[in-house]
């Protein structure tokens, strides 16, 4: 009775947990952009000018800058990662104006100091006096002016050039632009010979910090070219998701029906282990914050098919033992024992392949391999250990003592 109780409690508790948590879990699964629409671009980064240097630091800076720009454009959760020594992968989901975003991403922000040319309307400045590369890289800092207001100081590479410009523009405005946006238009009050300029205005510490960062990022000389791009419309993504889920559901149902029809009660236990396996996989996705992509779902469904293998191998083995005339309990013991090795061997070889895929793959391949590996590990836990445990519990409780419960005909049993 004790065994039967622990069996019933285990199954009931797990079923309860799964039923109540599944809707919430499904909502939390992070969908890849192939399933919800969006775009992915792989950039190749190289120095802006020939002979320039591409360092790890500049690559990371560029990636950060891309992320900032994506955030500034109001996209949701942009994902920017560096790859290798000279690549940056950008993923943005749910974009309405893709053209705008792609343009903004690639363009290096150009920092210019401009003065009013002849014919310019009031407060417009079109004559470019200084460009981004005239400033010391990462030279923008924030400080405070005499009145304690935040200000941004920039360092020039060439003191004399700056001195000449400020002398010429004495009493006039020298406007600061980032791309075509005017940041401020301070008046030149004196000739500046020290090689550094201050931008003052109505800044808070925060906005000053932001501007300094933007200037530093904008002055970063990495040129980006698109190496690979994928863009998926939201409708198409949703369609893929629905179709693939439907395929998975029907495939899984047929597998479950097959298992129960073929192996009766042990088949039912196996089906329970399979459902638990699927639930755990979703749990891992949510907890580890993996992104579910289309190849990921394919691996998911395939993994269910493969997890069934473990159950089939075990149950076939137990049947064989039953047919040979052993008692049910010793058949289950012997069957579990001898199938264990086979299942482990076949799972380990698949893990080897998945590990290689993970090591060599990029993007979709990596995602697929990761799902496969997680799935095999979970499958060993649920379809090997857990399913064995449930089965042994029932047999020991005396609820599974007829060969018929294993789908074995009495006539097939050899006398010992």
């Amino acid at each position: 009775m004790k065994r039967l109780m622990s069996f019933i409690i285990t199954v009931a508790v797990l079923t309860g947990v799964m039923v109540f948590s599944t809707p919430g879990l499904l909502d939390k699964v992070h969908l890849g952009l192939d399933l919800k629409g969006g775009f992915e671009i792989l950039y190749h980064a190289e120095p802006m000018e020939q002979g320039g240097e591409l360092t790890r630091a500049s690559l990371i800076k560029t990636a950060e800058s891309l992320e900032k720009r994506a955030n500034a454009l109001g996209t949701s959760e942009p994902e920017v990662t560096t790859e290798g020594t000279n690549r940056i992968r950008l993923k943005i989901a749910g974009v309405t104006d893709e053209v705008e975003v792609r343009k903004k991403m690639k363009e290096p922000a150009v920092l210019t100091f401009r003065s009013a040319a002849e014919g310019d309307a009031a407060e417009t400045y079109s004559k470019i006096e200084l460009v981004g590369s005239d400033f010391v890289e990462n030279g923008a800092e924030i400080g405070r002016d005499n009145l304690g207001r935040p200000e941004i100081s920039i360092k020039m590479k060439d003191k004399d050039k700056f001195a000449e410009i400020t002398k010429r523009l004495l009493g006039k405005e020298l406007a600061i632009y980032l791309d075509e946006n005017q940041l401020s238009a301070p008046q030149v009050n004196s000739e500046i010979t020290a090689g550094s300029a201050s931008i003052t205005g109505n800044y808070t510490v925060e906005s000053a910090r932001e501007l300094a960062d933007t200037i530093n990022l904008g002055a970063l000389p990495l040129k980006l070219t698109e190496k690979y791009s994928q863009s998926v419309g939201a409708t198409l993504g949703k369609q893929s998701l629905d179709q693939t889920l439907m395929a998975g559901l029907i495939g899984s149902l047929i597998i479950l029906i097959f298992m129960i029809g073929m192996y009766r009660l042990p088949g039912l236990l196996a089906s329970f282990a399979l459902i638990l396996h699927t639930w755990l996989l979703i749990l891992v996705f949510v907890v580890a914050d993996f992104t579910l992509t289309l190849p990921g779902i394919a691996a998911f469904i395939l993994g269910i098919g493969m997890a069934v293998d473990a159950n089939i191998i075990t149950n076939e083995r137990i049947r064989e033992e039953v047919r040979s005339g052993k008692s049910i309990l010793s058949s289950v013991k012997a069957g579990n024992k001898s199938s264990f090795r086979t299942v482990m061997d076949s799972n380990i070889t698949t893990i080897i392949v998945a590990a290689v895929m993970f090591g060599f793959g990029t993007g979709a391949v990596k995602g697929f391999a990761l799902v496969l590996i997680v799935e095999i590990v979970l499958s060993i836990a649920t379809n090997l250990y857990f399913s064995h445990w449930l089965l042994t519990l029932l047999v020991k409780a005396g609820k599974l003592n007829k060969p018929k419960s294993f789908g074995v005909k009495e006539s097939d049993i050899r006398a010992l």
Binding site: K227, A234, L236, Q239, G251, L294, T349, T350, G359
Partner: protein, 300 residues
Amino acid sequence: MRFKKELDFVHLSKYFYIFSIALTVAGLIFLAVLGLNYSVDFKAGSNVDIALSKNLTADQIRPAIEAIDISHEPSISIGDKRVNIRYEQELTEDQDEAIKAGILKLDDKASFEINTVDTEMAKELARNAIYAVLISCLGIILYVSIRFEWRFALAAIVALVHDAFMVVAVFSIFRLEVDLTFIIAVLTIIGYSINDTIVIFDRIRENLRFGKQKTYEDLKILVNKSVAQTLMRSLYTAFTVFIAAFFLLILGGESIKMFSLAMVIGLLFGAYSSIFIASPLWLLLKKRQKQPVKSSPAKG
């Protein structure tokens, strides 16, 4: 299950060897002459996939996509509420947008998927895929050699390379498109087809422990018996995974069609090779080891 003892798998395997060799030769010829039908994933260029709310004909679409300045004639394939356009040239962002704008004029509910890969990237993908196949084979040889013996490892590798190659051959013969997901499928088949083979080998190894097999005949009986004992298992496991892959093929998303197709073909070959190729091949290798025993009557 009563037919078990009547089937001589080892004897039958001769015909299957001929079938496999013939298909391999055909595959090699097709590969050499026509190669594979690579998608943009490997060839560079752009692939535009469009889901429409109504059916459009190629003639309706053509003006919209020819407006852009491109030297190559794109290939257009029309499906049910779907259009696929392939350019051998990489589209720029502006061209992407021009196509979208053109199609949206015809169907304002159209949804797009555009993939662009440049040549260097495509080569790298292909190179990595080949490395991945080679390294996984090495890994499997190593593992099976340690767990079993080298003859099993060799037979297993031949069987799995056979499976992988058959999929490549079928794709080449029928001019099916090879994309990145195809590579994933082939790798998965390698990982999966070895499963089936190992189940049978495991049984052969187990049966080897009972009693001595002195002659080739003994071994042959042992292999036949082992295959027969695991046959239902092999068929059931192949069937369940096949069901999963099959439904992905007929119902799953368009972008994993080729993946699912490759999986379905590979699974069929995987089940076939583990029954008819792998074990008889192991026997063939083992036979050569047994011969010296047979020639020395003193040990009888």
